[in-house]
Amino acid sequence: MTWGNKNAKLILLIDRPASRAYTDSSIISGRGGQNLHLILDHAGISSNDAYVLCANPSDIPEQALMNAKGVLTLRGTDLATKLRAQLNGLDPYCVVPMGRVSCSFLLQDARLDKLRGSCFQYNGYKVIPTRNPFTSGFNTPDRYIISADLTKAKRMAVKEPYKPPDMNIMIDPAPNIVERYLSDAEVVSCDIEVSRGQVFCIGFSKDEDTAMVVNLDRPLPERGIMWRICAEFLDDPTKTVIGQNFIYDMNMMWRLNHIRVSAKIHDTMIAHHIMYPDFEKSLQFLTSMYTTIPYYKDEGGFWKSGVGDRKSFLYYNGKVCIATFRVWEKLKDKILGEKFVSQYEETISMYEPLMYLMYRGLNVDMRELTIVKHKLREEITSIDASLQGVVQKESNHECMELNYNSPKQCMEYFYSTLGLPPYRKGGKPTVDDKALAQLAKTTSSREGLYSAQLIQQLRQRKKLFSTYLDIDFDKDHRFRSEYKPRGTRTGRLSSSKTFWGSGMNAQNVPPEMKAFLVADRDTLLIEMDKRQSEWVITAYLANDPEMIRVITTGVDPHAATAEMVTGIPLEAIRAENKAIGHTTNPEEIDRIRSELIVEELSAPFKLLTSGCFLPRTLSIRQMGKKCNHALNYLMGARQFSLETGMAEAECNEARNKYLTGYSRLPEWWEEVRKTVQEDRGLRNICHQYRAFVGTCDDAMLKDAVAHLPQSVSAWMVNMAMVDIYHSPHAECVAGEMLANVHDSILFQYPTDKLDELARFCSVAKYAMEPELTSPAGVSFRVETDIKIGLSWGHMVETTFQDVGDTAWKLVQAKR
């Protein structure tokens, strides 16, 4: 069974016929076929331009044709031989294998993720593999990728054989050649390769066809000379350097060789990710989309794993430089156009401050770390002891014991001993975190199980131990992370452990770990945090009068929301929150509430709240906080119940009251939906644009609604970081930036300059509170909170007016 024009010179090779191919009498029928039709239409390929064949027409299972590594079996080889003979008879100019099987049949290589989009000359015709439209085609970005590959194939369907692009790569040149190559270069692409933790080579390319790779794996005096030539070029502010994820190269060069890059920087990864946030951003992907260079990434990888030679590694580096240069040539006009330029330049401006954060790191108090570990062990023992008591009570069995580490025992306890209907995952009973959350909350038929909550807490602490407390620190006892300026689609930074495996994500540090991250000698830590940033921004974006009233009157939004949802007076909410704190034990909470007297109203709490809705496992203010964090972003009652541990009926009630109180929210969501549907993108109030691809369903709407406040909040903090770093104020010279945690920045300030601290803080506050204008034309700012302390885990709240005094008192107390 085939489709299209038999005489066409472009042949599309699908892995297997559509499931309804024989009933519909069409090789491309059903949902997958519809996808392929859409893709062909998008690529401008009609039934006259192409001929569609099937590599496996009898639909033999893939395992019978090839193994997991793509090695063909006897049946596979037989089928592949027949297919090649059939193709030879058709005499095509270009063949597109669309899937693993057809790719393996033609190229004896099933690594479709790597070969996709590359052009190979094979058996007298060109081969351009692409993804399978019947499986990947349901994912919108993949549909665009297949379409781009088909457009390339259509262009390549000409008689002339494929000639890979000419690349003139000069490797291991002498110093005078390096100097000569760079002397007249104004714009170069640059890339380093690292081997055994050191820079092995650095490559430059000043046009689309040539590259020069400086070998730095050479004896000492010569290596010093080479580094100096490269350093002089990179430090020249009149030059322009293009890189792919260049912050990595800059960070490595600075940390290992103290090379500073003062040249103007362009980054292909950043440019692509700003314009197409839903697509991959690796150089391999960009090369396949924007250039005709075939897949070459294996060449570097082989050397790194000990296979191959040094020369191939140097050539590989040269190819990377040429590919980066070519990709930039394709991207530059669009990214430097009006639509994206400000966003792009703002992102690039973060490189230097981020390198500062990465290099400086945070001081680790190793003694405190031991204490924290000891405390945590004790806590685990104590919770485990409580768990044993709770399970004995729940099961009415005096000898009952439960090992929280054993999923088997836990399952037996919940689903056999207690006889509860099992929660399942993939059809099998499970006691994973979600199941435990379900077990912990009250349902119509039973009370929530405290034992499930305790097991969750024990698992959380165990994870804390292995993920956070057992990490490696650098030799100088500092905690460092690697920041990625476009780690997320919203523009928020992301961070991870360093290249050397030390440190971890700095934006997800639990309070237990913060306790041993301390200020350096004779300095203080200062943390500036945006106050309920996303909630405030949402209020102005939605132009909700009630939310704006809460903000302008200065009431705590979490308490205000709690008051609105429960109808309990603010004074009682505050008193209850103070008494309960973060306790989650329902019995303990009930006891505290029954004994609580609200002094401001001179009345017992129980009397004030009789007949009101009260959350069972958290304080009323905490519930308000959870509502504020979740319900602005279209969270349903079921998910809300899972995340808060409240019963679903409670969540439903809370959600309804929230959306009645802040009544503009649903209208705003509808406006966002309309904009995304019509424009396929959104521009936030900081003029940053984000494209959305795919069907505008609920998932996309949730993403779009969350994107608007999150991107603005991230922008404020990121730009503040840049402003403070470059601030000309004398007070800022002494300050140091240590970490960025989405809505907050952590600084360090010397104690011998405390008289300048207040001024530094007000400069930072000014940078962190830019004036924003809502779509309704209302100007607003998001307030900043300030905390200071000697350890990140024990900070004292203060105000910008009192910061000097508080700091002085802290220093005195330490002495």
């Binding site: 090695v71 031989t81 933790g197 010093g224 350093a231 060789n257 103290h258 090379i259 601030s727």
Partner: protein, 83 residues
């Protein structure tokens, strides 16, 4: 607050400092341990399955060097032997 307030940059170094830096690089290179590889090695055990995968890789490499006819002949003879 500037990166160069923390340390001197390369172009500010004299020859002695450059030499010291590069010698330090060499000594770091000698003592370098790839933490990611180390962890993988820890976890990996040479099981029968892994051995089989290695065998597949060797066969695949050998097959890559053969022509289509040779491959077919080889696979047919192997199938006959098995039968």
């Amino acid at each position: 607050m500037k990166l160069t307030h923390l340390e001197k940059h390369f172009l500010e170094f004299d020859h002695v400092e450059v030499d010291a830096l590069l010698k330090q690089n060499d000594s770091d290179k000698e003592s370098y341990v790839n933490v990611y590889e180390k962890k993988t090695v820890k976890k990996t055990k040479r099981t029968e399955g892994k051995q089989k995968l290695d065998d597949y890789a060797t066969i695949k490499k050998a097959l890559g060097a053969m022509s289509a006819e040779e491959k077919l002949a080889l696979l047919k003879s192997l199938a006959q032997k098995e039968a």
